[in-house]
Amino acid sequence: MRAWLQAPKTGQIWLERRVAQHPTLWRWLLAGPLALVLALFAMAGLPNVLPAGAGGVNHLVFPVVLFPLLWASFVVWPVAAIRIGRVASVYITLFVIFLALILWAILA
C-alpha cells in the first residue's frame, strides 16, 4: 500500500507501477484481448480522422488495410517490451482516443 502512495521515483506514472506488480497477467491481457480490441477500434475510428483523398476512399481503405498489421504489432509489442507499464499506458491512451472517435462518429 505504501508503494501506491509513494511519489514516482523514475518518472513512472501510477498505471505503470500498478501494471509492474503483475507483469505476466498484463502481458497476456495486452497481447491478447486488448490487442484485438485496439485493432478493431482503430479500424472503426480512423476513418473519421484520415483524409478521404482524391477518390474519396483513402480514409476507408487505409484502416482496413492496416488492420492485420496493427493487430500483429499490438500482439508482439507487449511481449517484446521490457517496460510493460509503458505499453499499458500507450494502449489505454489509444483505446480512449479510438473510442472517442467512434462515439463522435456515431453521435454526429
Binding site: 483523398g53 482524391a54 477518390g55 476512399v57 481503405v61 508482439v76 462518429a105
Partner: protein, 524 residues
C-alpha cells in the same frame, strides 16, 4: 538473466506457440494456397480442352437482347455475360433478393447458349452462387480455392478463421525476425549432420529465413483479403455509414446511386465489347450490364492483364449511347493511394502478375513456407519428445503432413472419375472428407507403430497416387499429350509433368531412406 534475455525468451515462446496453436490449419491453408496459385491451370487441366475459341462474337449483343426480352423486367437490374461450360456463352439476368442463409444475393435466370448458333443449351433459375457454382469442370479448382479461402467453414466464420491464421503467420514472421540476430548469416546455414535437434533447427531456419519476406507479404495480403469484406466493411459501414452496408459498398466502389430509369433502347453491345477489347489491350473475360433498358444503363467490361500490367483492366461504357465513360478504379471514384493499394493486394497474394514466372516463384516460396511450418512443428515436438502427450502430437503431425496431400490427390482422382458421371460438384468435396476419415482411421490404427514406417508408407502412397493422376486423366477422356502439344494445352503438360516429377521424387527419396534414420522423414 537480464531483462533483454527475458524479452527474447518471451518472443521465442510467442513465435513457437503462435504457430503451434493453429499449426494444422495453417498447414492446410499454406499447402492449398501453394496449389491454388495454379488455379486457372488446374481448371484448364480439369477441363481437358485446348479449345479456347472466344465466346464473345458478332452475335453477343443480339443474344443478350433476345434473352432480355424473355425475362421479367425486374431482372434487368444486373446482367452478367461470360464464358460458360463447354465453350458456351453464359447469360445471367438478376436482381438482389434475400438469401435463406442471410444477407442479400443476386437471384435470377441463367442461360447457357451456343455463341455461334444461339441455340439454348441449358437454363436455370437460382441465386448467383448456385448458377455460377454449377460448373462441373471447375469442381476441383473451386474445391481447393474454397478450402484455402475459408476452410469450408460456412458464412463469414471461415473468412474470420483464415484471417486469424494470416495474423498468426504475421506474428510468427515478425517474432522470427526479432529473435534471429544474424538473419544474413542464417541465409547460408548448412545443416549439421546426425539428425540432431540442431539439424532440424538448421533446416527450419534456412527455409524460414529465405521465405521470410514472402511470409510477411502473403500473411498480410491474405489477412487483408479475408477481413476486408467479412469484418472491415461491416465495421466501417457501422461507424461511417450508420450501419448501411449497401451505401458503404456503393461509396467504396464509387458507384452512382441515382440512375436515370427512363426506358431507352440499348446500344449494340457487340460494338461496345469490340471497342473495349481494343482499348484495354487484354482479352475480354466477362461483361456486366447494370439497369439494362434504361437511359442510365452502364456496361462494365473485364479484361485479362495487358502486357506489362500487374492486374486486369475494367472499363465502363454507357449502354444507352455506347460511349466510353471511364476505367473505374477498384475502389473510389478517382485514382488514389487507397485504390492503388487495394488493387495491389490480390496480384501480390495470388502471384498472377507476370505469367508463368511469377506463378513458379510463388509456388516455390509457398512450398518453402509450407515446409517451414512443418519443420517448425517438428522442432517444437522434438524438444518435447520426452512427454507422452507431445509424442502423440508428433504422430498426428506425420499423419496430417502426409495425409493432406494424399487426400487432395485422392480427391483429384475422384473428381476425374465422377466427371464421367457428370457429378463432380457433388462428389469432389465428399471424396476429400472420406479420404480424411480414412487417413484419421489409419492414424489411429498405427499410433503405436514407428514413425519411420508410417512416413514411408504414406510417402509411397502419395508418390503412387501422383504418378497415377495423369494416367487417370487420360483414361477418363482428358487431352492427350500430343493433342496438348499441337493445340496449346500448356496447362495439361505442366500439371502432368509436375505430378510425375513429384511422384517420382516421393518414390525415389523414400526408397533411398534408411528406415532407422529420421533425418529425411519430412513429416516426422
Amino acid at each position: 538473466m537480464n531483462a533483454a534475455s527475458h524479452a527474447t525468451k518471451r518472443l521465442v515462446a510467442l513465435h513457437g506457440w503462435s504457430a503451434t496453436l493453429l499449426a494444422f490449419l495453417l498447414y492446410v491453408v499454406m499447402l492449398t494456397g501453394t496449389i491454388v496459385v495454379l488455379d486457372s491451370e488446374i481448371t484448364g487441366w480439369s477441363e481437358g480442352r485446348a479449345d479456347t475459341a472466344p465466346v464473345f462474337g458478332t452475335r453477343t449483343g443480339q443474344l443478350v437482347d433476345r434473352f432480355a426480352a424473355q425475362v421479367p423486367p425486374e431482372l434487368h437490374d444486373t446482367v452478367f455475360v461470360g464464358r460458360g461450360s463447354n465453350g458456351t456463352l453464359s447469360l445471367f439476368f438478376a436482381a438482389p433478393k434475400a438469401h435463406p442463409d442471410g444477407g442479400r444475393q443476386l437471384f435470377g435466370r441463367g442461360y447457357l447458349v451456343n455463341p455461334n448458333t444461339g441455340v439454348l443449351q441449358k437454363a436455370r433459375v437460382g441465386y448467383v452462387s448456385d448458377i455460377f457454382g454449377d460448373r462441373p469442370e471447375r469442381a476441383l479448382s473451386h474445391f481447393l480455392v474454397d478450402l484455402h479461402v475459408h476452410l469450408h467453414v460456412p458464412g463469414r466464420w471461415g473468412l474470420y478463421l483464415t484471417g486469424l491464421l494470416g495474423v498468426t503467420m504475421l506474428v510468427a514472421a515478425i517474432t522470427g525476425v526479432l529473435i534471429h540476430k544474424h538473419i544474413l548469416r542464417d541465409l547460408f546455414t548448412t545443416e549439421r549432420p546426425g539428425a540432431r535437434l540442431v539439424s532440424f533447427r538448421d533446416r527450419h531456419t534456412l527455409a524460414g529465413v529465405w521465405s521470410l519476406p514472402f511470409a510477411v507479404l502473403l500473411s498480410f495480403t491474405g489477412a487483408f483479403l479475408s477481413f476486408a469484406i467479412s469484418l472491415g466493411l461491416p465495421v466501417v459501414a457501422l461507424v461511417a455509414f450508420g450501419g448501411d452496408q449497401d451505401l458503404a459498398i456503393a461509396s467504396v466502389l464509387g458507384e452512382q446511386v441515382d440512375i436515370d430509369a427512363t426506358p431507352t433502347p440499348m446500344s449494340d453491345l457487340t460494338l461496345i465489347l469490340a471497342d473495349a477489347e481494343t482499348r484495354a489491350g487484354g482479352t475480354l473475360t466477362a461483361a456486366q450490364i447494370h439497369d439494362y433498358g434504361t437511359a442510365g444503363a452502364t456496361v462494365r467490361t473485364f479484361h485479362s492483364q495487358a502486357d506489362g500490367a500487374l492486374s486486369g483492366t475494367t472499363l465502363e461504357y454507357s449502354a444507352a449511347t455506347g460511349a466510353f465513360l471511364k476505367a473505374p478504379e477498384i475502389v473510389g471514384s478517382a485514382p488514389s493511394a487507397g485504390s492503388t493499394i487495394a488493387a495491389l493486394m490480390a496480384p501480390l497474394h495470388f502471384g498472377n502478375f507476370a505469367g508463368w514466372w511469377s506463378r513458379i516463384i510463388w509456388v516455390g516460396l509457398g512450398g518453402a513456407m509450407t515446409y517451414t511450418i512443418v519443420s517448425g512443428m517438428q522442432l517444437w515436438l522434438r524438444r518435447r519428445e520426452d512427454d507422452a502427450t507431445w509424442r502423440y502430437g508428433a504422430h498426428a503431425l506425420s499423419i496430417v503432413a502426409w495425409g493432406l496431400p494424399i487426400a487432395i490427390a485422392l480427391t483429384a482422382h475422384a473428381f476425374l472419375v465422377t466427371q464421367l458421371a457428370s457429378d463432380p460438384i457433388h462428389w469432389t468435396p465428399r471424396a476429400f472428407v472420406y479420404s480424411c476419415l480414412a487417413l484419421i482411421g489409419y492414424g489411429l490404427a498405427t499410433r503405436t507403430r514407428p514413425r519411420d514406417q508410417i512416413t514411408r508408407q504414406l510417402g509411397l502412397t502419395l508418390g503412387t497416387l501422383l504418378l497415377l493422376l495423369p494416367v487417370m486423366r487420360l483414361q477418363t477422356g482428358g487431352l492427350s499429350w500430343g493433342e496438348a502439344l499441337l493445340w496449346g494445352g500448356d496447362d495439361v503438360l505442366v500439371l502432368d509433368g509436375t505430378c510425375l516429377a513429384l511422384g517420382l521424387f516421393c518414390l525415389t527419396a523414400l526408397r533411398r531412406t534408411p528406415t532407422h534414420s529420421p533425418a529425411t522423414s519430412p513429416a516426422e
